[in-house]
Symmetry: C2
Subunit: 192 residues, 2 copies
DNA sequence: GTGCACTATCTATGTGCATAGATAGTTGCC
DNA sequence: GGCAACTATCTATGCACATAGATAGTGCAC
């Protein structure tokens, strides 16, 4: 259900086409939730059928058309409901730690490579997330600015605070992962 | 592919039935990787067909039979290969942080409930993982003891170290999640 | 000797997602 | 005027997994 709610969240700002949404899932929201077009377009059709969205065909150039989706009142309600409902946590299923538990089966070199890849992965994310926070703080986030334009200014602080808070969480996680992988590299050295 | 490799990892210690494996996925390994019986049994059949396992029927009581699977040389090779191959990291898809980004849509009470649930979830895991480490350190882990019996004593330190290292990583992650949720609770107070 | 918890396995249906490939119109540039 | 890059959307196949329900034998306790 998260995909649907990620879509609803974006459409609370303004109506969008599937393609618009795709671009957002590749950029801003994509740092938290990713979705390919093959998932987005069918989801939009289903959500329209369920009354969460209302689609209208918009002409585009001479012969082209595209379908722009707006969130309905039912959609807003559904989103608020989801926001108020606790998530249930999936069972643990973590390939990285699964492998770590049997690292004696890997060659030390392969083990090192993988820990370094872990560090590289989270370092990259870290930079993206830090950049997001910078954008949020300097008012350089288009999507956030448009969102702020739709809510009373008394809500601006809240809205911004939760965005920053989200990315801070991602950063904290990345920091923990990097520190863990670095301890792993040290451990490999010690065991040799 | 992780399920298959989790199964291979367990079967490097000794042959087991699907039911045995299920119990392990509910207990020890389950802290890192979970799988229901409806996934395990078909996987075992497929892995036998692929030559990774060899199954033999074992009588059980008067009329009962069960199928015990042993890892083959091909299975060991496949497992080692997986262990030496870097994982590829899935795209970000994190419901918790997705929701956090739009927390202004939740009522403050609902938001608090969810952050507390987050804390409760990871606190519970934390205790399980700490218990696992205690088991590892005191030699109280059956599965680990049986595993150690299959490897030369020169490898014991390594084997134990990686297990502990794995759970330390899970603990570090849980600590980070709890700290983040606590900052969230504070943030909610401040915004009110 | 009956009932109950446990061992043991299998099947069916549906969702979410990855991957890949197809189609077609638009815009801008050289 | 043609080509490339981009906009816009759709479809197909397959895997991993959740959920649920079915079947049947075992072992023990009362």
């Amino acid at each position: 259900m998260s995909l649907r709610n990620a879509i609803l969240a974006l459409l609370t700002v303004e109506p969008m086409t599937g393609y618009d949404l795709l671009k957002h899932f590749e950029a801003s929201v994509g740092h938290v939730w990713h979705a390919p077009d093959s998932q987005i377009y069918p989801a939009l059709r289903a959500m329209e059928k369920d009354g969460l969205l209302e689609g209208t065909d918009v002409t585009w150039g001479q012969r082209g058309t595209k379908r722009r989706y707006a969130i309905t009142e039912a959609g807003r309600t559904a989103f608020r409901e989801w926001m108020d409902t606790p998530l249930d946590y999936p069972r643990d299923r973590d390939p990285v730690h699964l492998k770590a538990a049997y690292l004696e089966w890997a060659t030390p070199d392969a083990a090192r490579l993988q820990l370094r890849a872990h560090i590289a992965h989270y370092t990259e994310r870290l930079e993206q997330w830090r950049e997001k926070i910078r954008e949020i703080e300097t008012g350089g986030s288009d999507m956030l600015n448009r969102r702020l334009a739709t809510v009373p200014s008394s809500q601006h602080e809240r809205t911004i605070a939760f965005k920053r808070y989200t990315y801070e969480g991602m950063i904290a996680r990345a920091d923990a992962e990097i520190a863990w992988a670095e301890r792993g590299l040290k451990l490999l050295d010690e065991l040799e």
